[in-house]
Amino acid sequence: FQELVQNISEKCFLKCITKPGSSLTSSEQTCLAKCMDRYLDAMGIVSKTLIERSS
C-alpha cells in the first residue's frame, strides 16, 4: 500500500503540479484525483493482462 501511494504520488505530482505554489490549488487537486483514478485503471489493465498470460 505504501509503495502504491509512493508511485501514484510521484507520477501524479509530475503531471499535475508543474509549478509548485504556496498551496495546492483546487485545479491541482482535481488533476491529482483524476490522475490517481486513471493510474488505478491502468494498473487494472496491466494486472488483467499479466494474470491472463500467466494462466
Binding site: 509503495e3 502504491l4 508511485n7 507520477k11 501524479c12 503531471k15 499535475c16 488533476c31 483524476k34 490522475c35 483514478d37 486513471r38 493510474y39 485503471d41 491502468a42 494498473m43 489493465i45 496491466v46 494486472s47 488483467k48 493482462t49 499479466l50 498470460r53 500467466s54
Partner: protein, 59 residues
C-alpha cells in the same frame, strides 16, 4: 514468494506503460490509452521473454 513477485511486476509495468501511454489525465482513460496500456504490457512481456531466451542461448 510468487505473489510478491507478481505485485512487483504489476507495479513496475504500470509505471512503464503509464509513461508511454497516458497524457493529461481525463475523466476516464480514452480508448487509445486503454489499448496502448494493454498492448504495452503484452509487448513488454514478449520483449522480456525474447531477451531472456536470447541471453540464455549466448551463455
Amino acid at each position: 514468494n510468487q505473489k510478491a513477485a507478481i505485485q512487483a511486476a504489476i507495479s513496475k509495468l504500470t509505471e512503464t506503460c503509464w509513461d508511454k501511454c497516458v497524457g493529461k489525465p481525463g475523466s476516464k482513460l480514452d480508448r487509445a490509452e486503454s489499448e496502448c496500456i494493454a498492448n504495452c504490457a503484452e509487448r513488454f512481456l514478449d520483449s522480456s521473454s525474447f531477451i531472456m531466451q536470447r541471453l540464455m542461448k549466448k551463455q
